[in-house]
């Protein structure tokens, strides 16, 4: 099973990218969590460019989503919501609407912030955006607050309660993927 992990910030040392690497290291056997680092290359959505031949990074994003069994987003929170760069990528991925690779794609949302609430608003809004785009978004999430205090001197997440919640999120996501496979097999 292949899970595409998409961080919502692009800076080097992104807390959310680190969080996803932490998740990848704890993925159960048979589950491969692949970090996608193409967010910065996605151009601003422009309907004039949304043609039969879209920008190459967009093609790669759509293919990466199509080839993944599930999606795991980790988002920070900017001004109480989803970072524009991440929303922009989802807007591209949601098109063409009739053939979006997001349709019925199992997806989970987690998030980390240096604040006290762990990007909980951004996670809620990201779930709304993904659901509206057609994805199957699982309920389980992880608001990881004061994330800068959770990393050790090597930049790794210290063990903690978040690890149990990560297991819950991964179980929900892989469960949705399994259910989808069973449906496809029965069809």
């Amino acid at each position: 099973m292949r899970i595409l992990a998409i961080p919502g910030s692009v800076r080097r040392g992104s807390h959310n990218a680190r969080l996803l690497r932490h998740v990848a290291e704890r993925a159960p056997e048979g589950v491969e969590v692949e970090l996608w680092d193409g967010l910065k290359s996605i151009p601003p959505y422009d309907e004039d460019d949304d043609t039969e031949f879209p920008p190459r990074p967009v093609v790669e994003l759509r293919e990466a989503i199509a080839q993944a069994d599930g999606l795991l987003f980790a988002t920070p929170e900017y001004n109480g919501s989803v970072p524009g760069v991440l929303k922009n990528a989802i807007d591209w991925a949601s098109r063409p609407r009739a053939t979006t690779p997001l349709q019925n794609k199992p997806a989970a949302v987690i998030g980390a912030s240096t604040g006290a609430f762990g990007a909980v608003w951004a996670q809620t809004e990201l779930r709304k955006v993904l659901s509206t785009a057609g994805a199957r978004v699982v309920d389980a999430g992880l608001p990881l607050a004061k994330v800068h205090e959770v990393f050790d001197e090597f930049g790794d997440l210290r063990p903690g309660e978040h690890d149990q919640q990560i297991e819950v999120v991964l179980a929900a996501l892989t469960g949705a993927v399994d259910a989808r496979r069973e449906l496809a097999a029965a069809a």
């Binding site: 609407r97 009739a98 349709q103 659901s131 509206t132 057609g134 199957r136």
Partner: protein
């Protein structure tokens, strides 16, 4: 099957849908103000008239849904609404049909989005008429109002004016042309 009062103008036999001349549409209030419409096509349906009365069965494939705004369609197919992958069809089966030809009451069960809920429709049946080589035809028109939240479709957004984006009540409008087998 419960006792039914047979609509007098439905001769005994099996009446199958003429899909070209049949429709299954829905209407839902948008923003507390206007009407948003959509539909499914083709409609599969069969009306059986026998000594026990009338029985109606019908279904549509969810992925045939059409709405005016193509941007909304993937959301309607998603788990927030029909969850097409897990529930590819909408099905109806009557449990009782009673009344007169121009004032029918059709009770039955509607299965949609993983839920099966009793519904009641009102409508009328016209015909039969003979269309020569095309045989005998009936027309059956039905309307029902359902609560979409009973089918797990609880999605909602509040508009700036305070209205809900989408009403919970959804009006179903089914028009069938049926040919005698």
């Amino acid at each position: 099957m419960s006792t039914t009062q047979i609509a007098p103008s439905v001769p005994v036999g099996t009446w199958s849908v003429d899909a070209v001349h049949s429709n299954a549409n829905f209407e839902v209030e948008h923003g507390g103000l206007s009407v948003f419409r959509g539909g499914f096509k083709p409609v599969d349906a069969k009306l059986i008239s026998d000594e026990d009365g009338l029985t109606l069965e019908g279904s549509v494939a969810v992925d045939t849904i059409t709405v005016d705004d193509e941007n909304i369609r993937p959301h309607l197919l998603s788990p927030d609404f029909f969850d097409v992958e897990r529930n590819p069809a909408v099905r109806f089966r009557s449990t009782e049909i009673s009344g007169e030809a121009d004032d029918l009451t059709v009770s039955g069960e509607l299965s949609m989005a993983g839920f099966t809920v009793p519904v009641q429709a009102r409508g009328r049946v016209r015909g039969p008429v003979s269309l020569g080589d095309h045989g005998d035809k009936l027309a059956l028109s039905l309307e029902a109002t359902i609560d979409r939240t009973a089918f797990g479709m609880v999605w909602q957004m509040e508009l700036p004016g305070g209205h809900d984006a989408l009403a919970n009540d959804v009006r179903l409008l089914v028009d069938l042309e049926l040919a005698k087998e």
